[in-house]
């Protein structure tokens, strides 16, 4: 366990919600992340997938210290991060960086590319202004942009180019871990492929580890070594990429995979979808026991009432970790 670069244990993030008066405390708690554990090894990519509201973005933000964890731990090379203040965090910032979802919102519109890219270096006191600027140009070159455009502003670039600038900013401090929060979901298909290729290339070149968050399963499959599927604040299945996509164990994973439309009309017409009933329950009032029980197509296969009475643990099943009461040897 101490071997892994980034280790997340029983991470919890609860948001107090509901009415809050001047003095009173609110009682409703939104369990956005409710006990998530995983390890990220050097040079590996862990894909984190799930539908909106499953807490995958909150996991990323909590790891980055953008939200204060309600419980659990995040360790980088054995150093505990969750309890650190801003100053204590600083030395670790250089090792873990983040790429954001929306290339239009993640760059300060009033800054030039030069100041966007030199800001990380300035905050961490690296180099003199001139060196920083040269470094910023080298970064632009690394992400496939023309370094001559360093004095331009974000609005003078297209969406894909802006996302490249965002990636360059994340690379500026030469991190070991990149947390990518839906880095391609705001982009068009043809641009998306460019950015994915860039991310794959950078991963090899700088031996980066990615925590890759996405709702697009095909993208995750392309880039990840391990995939974790989240549902309502918990990981329901985690497995090596090929295993997860070829032999999904958890009923939710199966439904999710079968719901993805394929860009192949013949396959699409022959395919049988597992249609889930209803919607994802609110994380304010999660159902008792297994969070998925209300929609689970396989719940009748489990001995009476266990799904309702008892939350399943994430247990090893072959090379996968699955949180389901269903007997894995059923098949």
């Amino acid at each position: 366990m101490s071997e892994s670069l980034l280790s997340v244990r029983e991470l919890k993030k609860h948001f107090p919600t509901g009415r809050r008066s001047f003095l009173g405390r609110s009682h409703d708690v939104l369990r956005a992340v409710d006990g998530v554990s995983f390890d990220l090894e050097r040079g590996q990519c862990l894909g984190l997938v799930g539908e909106s509201g499953c807490g995958k973005t909150t996991v990323a933000r909590t790891i980055m210290g953008l939200e204060k964890a309600s419980g659990g731990s995040v360790t980088l090379d054995g150093h505990e991060l969750t309890s650190l203040g801003r100053r204590g965090w600083l030395p670790y910032r250089t090792r873990v960086q983040m790429i954001f979802q929306d290339p239009y919102a993640s760059l300060d519109p009033r800054q030039t590319v030069a100041s966007i890219l030199t800001e990380p270096l300035a905050i961490h006191g690296r180099g003199k202004p001139k060196q920083r600027k040269l470094r910023a140009m080298a970064l632009l070159d690394v992400v496939g942009l023309n370094p001559r455009h360093i004095n331009r502003y974000p609005h003078e670039f297209s969406g894909g180019q802006r996302q490249r600038i965002g990636i360059a900013r994340a690379l500026a401090l030469e991190p070991e871990v990149l947390v990518c929060d839906e880095p391609v979901s705001a982009l068009d298909v043809s641009i998306q492929a460019q950015i994915i290729n860039l991310l794959v290339e950078l991963k090899e070149r700088f031996s980066l580890a990615y925590l890759f968050i996405a709702h697009d399963l095909a993208v995750v499959r392309h880039i990840s070594d391990t995939v974790a599927v989240m549902y309502l604040g918990r990981v329901v299945e985690m497995a090596p990429c090929d295993t997860l996509f070829e032999a999904p164990q958890h009923p939710y994973t199966r439904a999710l995979l079968s719901a993805v439309p394929l860009a192949d009309p013949l396959a699409e017409r022959q395919r049988r979808r597992i249609l889930l009933e209803g919607d994802v329950p609110s994380p304010l009032h999660p159902p008792p026991g297994c969070a998925f029980q209300g929609r689970c197509p396989d719940r009748d296969a489990v001995p009476a009432g266990r799904c309702v009475s008892e939350a399943p643990l994430l247990l090893a099943c072959g090379s996968s970790l699955v949180a389901c009461h269903l007997d894995p040897s059923r098949e």
């Binding site: 539908e51 909106s52 297209s158 969406g159 894909g160 180019q161 068009d188 298909v189 043809s190 641009i191 998306q192 492929a193 460019q194 994915i196 290729n197 794959v200 290339e201 709702h215 697009d216 399963l217 095909a218 993208v219 499959r221 392309h222 990429c241 090929d242 996509f245 070829e246 439904a255 999710l256 995979l257 079968s258 719901a259 993805v260 439309p261 394929l262 860009a263 192949d264 009309p265 013949l266 699409e268 017409r269 979808r273 249609l275 889930l276 919607d279 994802v280």
Partner: protein, 335 residues
Amino acid sequence: MALLEVRNLSVRFDTHHGSLRAVDDVSFTLDEGETLGLVGESGSGKSVCNLALMGLVPRPPGVIESGEVWFEGRDLLQLPESELRALRGNSLAMIFQDPMTSLNPLLSVERQLSEVLEVHRGLSRRQARKQCAAALDDVGIPEPERRLDEFPHELSGGMRQRVMIAMALLCDPQILLADEPTTALDVTIQAQILELLSDLQERRGTAIVLVTHDLGVVAGMSDRVAVMYAGRLVESASTLDLFARPAHPYTQGLLASVPDLGGNREGDLFSIPGSPPDLVELPAGCAFAPRCGQVEEACRSGPPDSLDLNDTAAHGPRRVACPRAHAGFETGGLL
């Protein structure tokens, strides 16, 4: 006989940056009970095309420069606003991408739905309520009677989109224009909505124009596909042909750049270099020429004409706006 026929439609927008042609000389037909997928990236003009069919292009800045839209023997672009209004929601209905903003947050579900009926059918409040409940039941909403009294914010995204679909189908339209109906939804909810749409279509025989950027959705839903790039229709074909033998270099690139869920992770994804052109400053020739791997000198001189493609194995007529593609199919080989 086509149900809807669009001929040489061009829509221009006069913006502050200059005027741009969002839809440029687009022609297609829609048969009864058929689903036509209109595919393209953002800014390709697919949504504007849809709005133009409904007469909903905001004017100004939009200007319908030319074209005809024939439906039931009438050219929709020439109809006065009053007659168009009678058609909208009645024979032509539309569902939008974001079900939250397209429902009025202050009205109950019943009020939103019954408005359509009261306007087009002149039903009484009570009759309308009954029909609305039936419509909600039809789109798979449990406890329709209770849902009628709820407000949009009390419904989930999937439910809201179902309400939108119920609203669109209340008057049994012949054509449903769906603008990215599932883009804002999660995969499992998207699967539900797509299933619902194809089920409804089968039962009622509604023709659907499905505007989307998701090639997977098109592959599963549509009978024919039209691909748009920078305001122009670059290729149209039956879905099977288009996915099996894409003719236009853009279509080929688009299909190749979709990551494959079924494996094959080795090597890079195919990607089209560059980014979509700025519509204000389109290149003189084919708009795709600067990104095209098969570009020739002729491509840069003038926009290529959309011509019937001589594809012997095709399941239906195909049109492509690329001379190279025609040449490739003439010699029998794929590019």
